[in-house]
Symmetry: C2
Subunit: 413 residues, 2 copies
């Protein structure tokens, strides 16, 4: 069972809460923080004094032009130099890393083209360590790097330490976190890209993407990130959300994963290409259908009725039924479509909605709204960054008082 609350937890949690409030609000005054957190002014005063003394927060001079009478509010902000994170995004043939300061500003970035499908596991790991080393070297004035977040296309384990399976590499169960921690002695997390996209959406537009929503990546494969009750929803063992491999039609079209009838086998880039070009649905999926190819097919589909348009209809139907099955479990929620497929959503929307209407999801159709955003890369990095920063807020700057440490120090004494 879950453990009782110790007295020290109180301060710890409220510290984390203050940091979170400042991160969200930007430059709030103490009074604003008190209002948002529900804590008293005196408590906020005490906690922020601590955090300022520790160099985690800082007062920013003369930022709030009050115009009101009374003592002016003094704005508090995150100290950009208090820490830094490295956010690494690994996708097909592309590796990108950036250092980001504690207050969220990008300090340096480094991008590389590589051949992920043909690289050995060892080369891939070395390349990651190397790009991190480079980007850190180019950030001499940054605060200390206290967290490295890696976002990857594919299935990660629920502890966020390993890449279990990925379409971008033939290797399985790669221990990214262990290896990178070994190299830098900094805690590392390995997360699914779509989960990070969901995280980013919440930071970007908290109005729309509040506590329950779904991000779907329409690209070579189909990915999904689900936010439930304000938390990224993961499976019990893995990052979960294998929306693309839900079975749409038992025994149906051949999927890249070797199974038949997955949603992806109708709606992934290669599937759209395969259908638009009149190939058999059981023909082996082709690698390397780029975003440009999809855009070209979409152009032709918009121009005239034909196999291209039908291909998008088929894709929409698969997505719609998949969403309907998803909604059978978690109800409808706002949906963000991300990636190249999102730019062709006009060609799919009708069939998506028709399919949903044939499922339980149709009951809540008023709750379903679609929003599109083509640039998945940027979102992925943002989400990875914000999650790494939030980790520092809660786990490093508001740490657990460790029983084990107490035991050890009392042994020494």
């Amino acid at each position: 069972m879950s453990v009782g609350i110790r007295h020290d937890d109180l301060r710890r949690r409220n510290r984390a809460m203050v940091l979170g409030a400042v991160r969200r609000a930007g430059q709030p005054s103490r009074t604003e923080i008190a209002a948002v957190t529900g804590l008293s002014n005196s408590t906020i005063s005490a906690i922020s004094a601590d955090l300022i003394a520790e160099g985690i927060l800082a007062e920013t001079k003369g930022e709030i032009a009050s115009l009101k009478r009374g003592r002016p509010q003094v704005a508090i902000a995150l100290n950009a130099k208090a820490a830094a994170v490295v956010s690494v995004v690994l996708s097909l043939d592309h590796l990108s890393a950036a250092t980001i300061g504690y207050s969220g500003e990008v300090i340096a970035q480094e991008d590389r083209r590589l051949h992920t499908l043909s690289m050995s596991e060892e080369e891939l790991l070395r390349e990651c360590v190397d790009v991190i080393r480079k980007v850190v070297a180019r950030s001499p004035n940054a605060g200390p790097v206290l967290r490295i977040g890696l976002a990857v296309q594919g299935v990660t384990d629920s502890a966020a330490r390993r890449l279990l399976w990925s379409p971008i590499t033939p290797h399985q169960d790669i221990a990214f976190a262990d290896r990178i921690e070994e190299a830098f002695a900094v805690p590392v997390s390995v997360e699914n890209d779509c989960n990070m996209i969901a995280e980013a959406l919440r930071w970007r537009d908290p109005e729309r993407y509040r506590s329950d929503f779904i991000a779907i990546l329409l690209s070579h494969g189909i990915g999904m990130g689900v936010m439930l009750k304000g938390k990224v929803f993961t499976g019990t063992h893995s990052s979960g959300g294998e929306f693309g491999h839900m079975i749409h039609r038992p025994g149906g079209a051949l999927c890249r994963c070797g199974r038949h009838g997955c949603v992806e086998a109708y709606a992934g880039n290669y599937a759209i290409w395969r259908n638009a070009n009149g190939h058999d649905e059981n023909e082996q999926p082709v690698d390397g259908i780029g975003d440009d190819d999809i855009r070209a097919i979409a152009e032709r589909a918009r121009a005239a009725e034909g196999p291209e348009r039908a291909a998008f209809r088929t894709a929409g139907e698969a997505i719609g039924y998949g969403l309907g099955n998803l909604f059978a479990l978690i109800d409808a929620a706002p949906i963000a479509l991300v990636g190249v497929g999102a730019s062709a959503f006009d060609l799919m929307e009708t069939s998506v909605r028709q399919a949903i209407a044939k499922t339980v999801g149709g009951l809540h159709s008023e709750a379903i709204s679609f929003d599109t955003e083509a640039n998945e890369m940027q979102l992925t990095r943002e989400g990875s960054t914000m999650q790494a920063l939030a980790f520092i807020d809660t786990e490093i700057f508001a740490p657990q008082t460790r029983d084990s440490e107490l035991v050890q120090s009392s042994r020494i004494a």
Copy 2:
């Protein structure tokens, strides 16, 4: 955002934790409670002294035959008279209510046959109020009723106050909680039966059903309760878990819900009956296929190859694909099959497993184990009871200190 932790929350939460520990352990000593909760002996001593003084807990004399040296442990137990709950289970043509004492013992029970499908909404509500009144009247020595839990087949809202849709009645969006609260002035919850079954399984066998598992009810319809991270998983608006209405085959067999291709349209009682008797899969579903009919079909299926055996194979396939799609989202987990269909699982297991193997779920097949339990009624009541009791533990005997109250009393002063 979530609100800061006030000082009073500390005691409140630790009180709830102590009550939970006692409920789970039965008759623990203070030392045992301290060990389980991680709180210190002195804290447990103080909290339990409070709870005993309030008549919520009680010391039980001479229960722990120690045989050890030293001061004997004194056992602490829930005071059976501290409170009571009424647990109501409403299913097709059947209404059942029971009063249960604070320590979990059944005090009185009342069962009724009725005709849920032909009753008016008003009659249904009246009948519920009436059966509660009766069973409470028959429990004169019980503690005060502080919570009423209603478990119903069908979709409830996520606030647990309304029955949105149910196969047992033609009426929709019935405000059970409001109506019953009006009659008894006691807080009421309305929950999905399968969610309660999941709750019950965790109390019954915490070893096997720990934090992540799935309960599936195979009956006239197909229901599901999912436990994730130790909590019943619900949708964002409703009780969620409409496993039976995930689409197995787009455009396929006609379901009771009017849609085509739902899992239920292949695996519900009426679907098995329809297939076993050689009817067309688009023939209108028949009501009133009882458990006996299914058992008879199962007998014939076990005796010889034929349409009966094929019907169970088809059902298994639908369940298997459904589970596979579910596992794509939440990973594989142990499964409990409940209801009459569970008694025919021997006829379905092979096709269930074959279907799962064709989905992403097949990856983690080692995590999939099936357990069967025919008596759904008993489980539903148990789950509803335990949830109501846990509500009293946390919400009534360890209540929030209410800001509104403080404000009001300061206004009066």
